[in-house]
Symmetry: D2
Subunit: 337 residues, 4 copies
């Protein structure tokens, strides 16, 4: 059994914790949090040992009648692998903590690529993380792009990717995020940083990305163009994407027009939190015009990186190879819709 600790118990951290608990070969030794909000209460109800991430604030948990198992240092000491899911930039501050205890650590997409030994996507470069001390699971958007690029690159070769990322303004509970009624080129310069981020996984890929931000909270939506090297038909590409375990090609007859119905579909299916771990690709959008492949995909920012974190734990601990790990993760979570 791998002993896993999670530092930072918010949107990503709580999902990773639940996913770890679901694995046959892992044990959650605890989670660390800074403040006693509704998520802290739930961690305790779930029976997850709760550690204070910041010593000075530990008494706030007392005040809220929430029992602590200790301080984050103890959690790091106990864990075989730590998953850091703190806000962007805090992971970097925590690096020395993990190093002091000689505990390998995973970081999230909000951290810089050069903080770590390697960036990670299970489908694309699992093996690169073998035995690494510091690994970054790439962001939700980069994960979504990497899952698409990997099979297309293998099957056809890619001349160039051009992707417009229409990003959600904030997560559903982030009430201080805008915009309320606008479409923001974001960043206003082109190409955006997302392309170089994909290149941390595919160093030789030609990719230009453009980012925007809109008043929606449920999912990002990608408008994708891939100029392929080889000949392809829409049907072949569709079959290829249907054959991948973490891309869900939405069948036309479901009559799903956007993220609202996708999330409802996931909730109806009993998915925890209505999470959509897969890239959700509209079947009818997959088109080939000459060498140009086009498609739309929706990316659930809150959860697509969750199975990737689980796989990265095994990669770092060298307890499984890519295929074994992905299969175990998928089975344990209930991947597939």
């Amino acid at each position: 059994m791998l002993s896993v600790g999670v530092n930072g118990y918010g949107t990503i951290g709580k999902r990773v914790a639940d996913a770890v608990v679901a694995q046959p070969d892992m044990e959650l030794v605890g989670v660390a949090k800074t403040r006693p909000n509704y998520e802290a209460g739930r961690a305790v109800k779930n029976g997850y040992p709760l550690y204070a991430a910041i010593e000075e604030r530990a008494e706030k948990f007392d005040a809220a009648d929430i029992d602590l198992a200790g301080l984050v240092e103890e959690l790091v000491e106990e864990a075989d692998v730590m998953v850091d899911a703190t806000p962007s930039g805090i992971g970097a501050e925590n690096k020395s903590l993990y190093e002091e205890h000689d505990t390998p650590a995973l970081y999230q997409g909000g951290e810089d690529a050069d903080l770590v030994d390697t960036s990670f996507n299970a489908r694309a470069n699992f093996a690169d993380a073998a035995g690494a001390d510091h690994v970054r699971v790439v962001s939700c958007n980069t994960t979504g792009l990497s899952r698409l690029v990997a099979p297309l690159e293998e099957e056809y070769g890619i001349e160039k990717v051009r992707a417009t990322l229409v990003r959600r303004g904030g997560d559903p509970a982030q009430t201080d995020r805008g915009p309320i009624n606008d479409i923001l080129p974001n960043p206003r310069t082109i190409p955006s940083h997302h392309g170089p981020d994909v290149q941390t996984i595919f160093p030789d890929l030609a990719i230009d990305t453009l980012g925007l931000k809109v008043p929606a909270t449920l999912m990002h939506t990608h408008s994708i163009n891939v100029s392929l090297n080889g000949d392809a038909t829409a049907d072949e590409v569709r079959e290829l994407l249907e054959s991948q375990s973490r891309t869900f090609v939405i069948p036309e007859h479901l009559d799903i027009d956007g993220a609202g119905k996708l999330k409802e579909f996931a909730l109806d299916a009993g998915r925890p939190r209505g999470d959509l771990w897969e890239n959700c690709i509209w079947g009818e959008s997959i088109s080939v015009e000459g060498d140009d492949l086009y498609l739309f995909q929706a990316i659930h920012q809150e959860s697509d990186v969750v199975p990737e974190n689980v796989d990265a734990i095994r990669a770092v601990a060298e307890t499984a190879d890519a295929d074994e790990s992905i299969e175990t993760t998928n089975d344990a979570l209930g991947m597939g819709l």
Copy 2:
């Protein structure tokens, strides 16, 4: 065992079907639907016998490879009680269908009050539905108001209720609903129809309601004023509301600022679809100024009527009294947060 059929398998119908399945004393004999969309596929995966609501469209289910158990008439024949959860106005068209088969039927809040023998709220007037043939479970907003009025009326007596209902523009998957960037007095005339609707439950209550519509999908929010007859303190009212089984007084320390965090709280708690069956009342908002009680409550339009439908089934079938039914329903669903 009560045999229950559900006609209209959308937002409300699918939730009522699941809730019926969860009851120890009920059996779901089937659901009827008009079109083979994602919800139809899910019904079949759930093992719910699926009936065609409209004979002419039955072949569309064939085309989508979805097996039908028959036509809605057969479902009505088989059921002890039918729950009609079709869109506003369709319930009225279906009334004769239920009468032909002598099957008592429940309707939803979108139907007119005079379609039925009695309107229904479990906490307030369960007994009125005993043995009735046609019962209307009042709308989400009226249910939310009734649950508040009942204990206050009993405990203090009510001089007058004044409520401003800030309503969500559409449900999360209703992508054709607006407004996008506006606050609409809706209806523009005052008082709105919601007050008279509450009076179908409390005929003698003085209540004036004002309605608005805003660009949000998650929950309605009520700004409530109740002029009480007796003396009350905020603490007493809070205790009273905390003692009710279907009103959830949100504790301050959860740090929940709106419907986004409320839904996340429910999803984290493992609630199916993140449903909030209870009125969600902000604890810190409960205030008394002279005779005037004020508070804010959020109402989950998609689910607060679900336990009420379950209770109404027993009320109509006369298999339990109010307290027994409410307790059974609550236990089976997992009411309480």
Copy 3:
């Protein structure tokens, strides 16, 4: 001629500057700004002398090729009256600046009431500002409420006001403001601070206010209840409100359902920036139930305080009484729709 300077040239400041220019008895001696954004460029194109509000940042204007007339101190020295329209809290920091130059100053609603000698609403308490050194023009919401309270109090006497303020999340250009998809009780405690703010104008008024924030940018909307002392009919109240110069009773036949159509109406009418200086009250919403008056009004947060600032300048300078000033302001701006 009154020499007027404006410090803080944003949403409010630029409108006040334009309004001052439109007055027959005032001269705009300049505006002060901190940064050379699109508003700064426009000030210069308008021929408004532009002063640097912060000395250290003056060179940024050079870099953007925008000519400065000097530093804010010079502007204060030159002005008979300063209008401070800087962000909340900055006005307080600027107070000593105005005192040093012995220049009376107006502040906006974002400042605390106890910063000033008197809070101000032209219709309600013009005379209180006579000769004052520091006057606060109350916020957009308080201005909207005061214009309603004044005639009702005079005509009928008011027992109590209960108002639910459904507030816009941010102004149209404030892209960093949320919420995106939520309805937030804000503040979560009741009553909100708006009631006490109205009492800075009507010290003896009984008023309880409740605030919410929603994802809309165009206008606030107030759901109003006034318990009147005397007998009233809806028609009488309507006539009373139609007779006021800064309340616009929206006629039914215009078929205006919200702020979007109201703003379009104002833009079609040629109003600068589509500004609605008046309270916009839906005619069909004005209702009387027993002693309770109800109505909906929309308040244009960006502009309703503009005529009030203009009047406050004359009040402070003692160059006109309330009626004269209001008439001059209204004529110069083109009040009335």
Copy 4:
């Protein structure tokens, strides 16, 4: 003087009417409307002769105390050119009306391309409309794309255009339009109809377009890729676009991040209704990677076709060539920011 009539006095029609009035060589002989809403009242206040578009509803104008000048047939008879700005599909129904009176007519982008002799964009194919009886001014999005394609095609030659159109869900006053909180691939199939629409102006252009719809009302935003035939630098392209009269390259120092600030900029500049007749291209977004040009542009759906309609009137009437007409239109309106 050219006598111009406008049939359909809504978003587009009222703007075209005002623009016609502003032209030195045109006279507005009247506008036709179906219902007496706020726009009808304004037409009369503007002194625009108002005709009933539908005879049976003429009395409704009486009821609203709005004087009619006659029926639409009389207007068509009187006009040298009619501009039809009725909702999509109604223009086609009106075609025979214009033919009966031998009055050449312009239609809007909501009509099918094969309804007319030629589709029209002033910059790209003015001459094609010479003497035509039925001309379609292409839609807001197609107009925006054509203005970009024309100079790039002339200067460099275009290998292929790939454009993702992030479209506003509805206009600001269209309160019944959604989505509220979603990003909708729309249409879900690729390529969208926008590409072929651009080909009604540039028949040989290789162009693939992808459409989405989001909860915003102010402007569309285009994420553009153009594979150029010749060598280009970002600076050259920028200069080229700055030299066009109907493309506004937004300077970085204005610090404009989206449509909200763009509209505020236009309102501050005194533009009627805050209209942005120009393509608004973010300067810092103009980038060249190899042969690929990228940029973001915002398109004001309510107004960018207005100057095109004015030019099309002259084109049809053969009273000016392209350059003369564009210059006259621009001068009369005050093009340029």
